[in-house]
Symmetry: C2
Subunit: 311 residues, 2 copies
């Protein structure tokens, strides 16, 4: 005998009657008439094979079995309501999981950690799965649904299924040792030009698998006939600045990195900054994202506006 499953509706009705101790009042509270309520209670008693209420002329009273059911079904109904609540939060994007990839250069910008911190603060039930990789791998992972979205600088390829959105562009600045000759006899932070780089010792970060900021810089110099000397090639932008601070040469960095080694480095605006500025690019699939991802993307967009103002 495979007994029929319990009916949630009947349990809810039962709860109402148990609390009111009165069929008619319980029916009113439930927004229905007394007879169907009596019927459902009776059906429940029949199915369980238990008398749940003693009928008295001024209402009903729980039997021992009824009291037992009340105790045990209360928890169940609560769990059910909780489940519904959690699902609603999932649907509204207040809960869920976002898989985000970023390049090391995207991670280096204060925007990235700040946005993630804000997401955790505002949406503690959105869990962020973070991973760092180069732009090509991130693009492939988003395409393959292994990631929901990615933060990169310059896209390396643009498959039609993906959307590349520039969150903001960031100007670049020249970084020079405080005692560099280009600074002598000028204002504290003079506006310089690419032409000033001619014959200068230049420090570059070359990222494998991504034609980044420095490829662009060299192309622009070549277009102007300017020929800097490559003094060093390193693998992280922060290393550039360490070398500049040591007086090994000059470099170009996103403006957001200003402030590193303030005692040893002077950051100067560059006339051609617009030609060189570094984008922060969001990669995502064109298809509508899951709700939690949408929430995260909205937060990123909002934060990007903040950054545009601040930059």
């Amino acid at each position: 005998m495979t007994t029929l499953p319990l009916d949630l509706r009947q349990l809810r009705y039962f709860q109402a009657v148990a609390e009111e101790g009165h069929m008619t009042r319980a029916a009113a509270r439930l927004g229905l008439q007394q007879p169907p309520l009596s019927q459902q209670i009776k059906a429940l008693e029949l199915q369980l094979g238990l008398q749940l209420f003693e009928r008295h002329p001024k209402g009903v009273r729980l039997t021992e079995a009824g009291r037992q059911l009340q105790l045990e079904s209360n928890k169940l109904l609560q769990d059910m309501a909780d489940l519904q609540q959690r699902m609603a939060r999932l649907a509204q994007g207040e809960r869920g999981c976002v898989a985000l990839g970023f390049t090391s250069s995207a991670a280096a910008h204060w925007f990235t950690p700040a946005a993630l911190r804000e997401c955790r603060r505002r949406y503690p039930d959105i869990s962020l799965a973070l991973s760092e990789a180069n732009a090509a791998d991130i693009t492939a992972a988003v395409l393959a649904h292994r990631l929901d979205c990615g933060l990169i600088r310059v896209p390396v390829s643009e498959p039609p299924e993906l959307l590349f959105e520039t969150l903001f562009r960031e100007p670049v600045v020249l970084a020079l040792p405080v005692d560099h000759r280009l600074l002598r006899g000028r204002s504290a932070t003079p506006r310089l030009s690419l032409a000033d780089l001619h014959d200068e010792a230049l420090i570059l970060a070359r990222r494998p698998g991504a034609p980044g900021l420095y490829a662009n810089l060299l192309a622009q110099c070549e277009a102007l006939g300017v020929k800097p000397r490559i003094a060093a090639e390193v693998d992280r932008m922060m290393s550039n600045l360490n070398l500049v601070a040591a007086g090994a040469g000059i470099t170009v960095v996103p403006a957001s990195m200003q402030g590193t080694h303030p005692e040893a480095i002077v950051y100067c605006p560059l006339k051609e900054a617009k030609l060189l500025d570094a984008p922060m690019t969001l990669v995502r699939r064109r298809a509508a994202p899951a709700a939690a991802v949408a929430t995260f993307l909205a937060l990123l967009a909002e934060f990007a506006k903040t950054q545009a103002g601040a930059g």
Copy 2:
């Protein structure tokens, strides 16, 4: 917006589809056709505002939200099944609560603790609420639903709403000190008569509120013109035997107490035992008892038969 409650049926359907990864197979497993199943799944997705499955040409696959729902609803469905199971056990009388009262003389008989022990062994989920009181209080408590049933010896009143059932009758025996003069020059345990009590030192247990065995004994003696001397009055039957063992006199006890102080007391059958035998009486309401009480009563009846054979 008070969202509609979740539908358990849809959750069960969802589980089946999630496990099968295939609408048609899941429908077969659930004993229905594919279209209504698809409809219910769609309705669930619509209500939650979440896509639960990705539709593929060879079946369906859970989305991230679907996986979440699966995890959380699994537990809920399990809890629901458990609740149903527990209620079924309540209905079948394998679980529940029995409030039992007994007099101290009922408790003194091995039958009572043995029956309770057996009940605990066979039905560990039936909880026994035990209380000791005199027969009058027990009768009143059963009448007032404070107790489900009671074990007493001689009923003190018999309200029509209550049922008094003699589980078994127990003969009484005479208990004499081993060196008593009635034993001299006879067989080891001679059959004695009430007439032999004439002028003997008799030890009685007088129970307040219950005309018990000893009131009956004195009445029978009087009817025969036999006049024993009352040597002592105590409040527990066991005390009688202690005094007999000390040689203070003789007494009459239910046969079940034979074996106490075997080195000092001789128990002799009594010719008039039938007139004096002590009943074990079950008190209960005439109305049909709760299932667990019925189970307990059945066990008592079964045990009483055993006792009848053993006695």
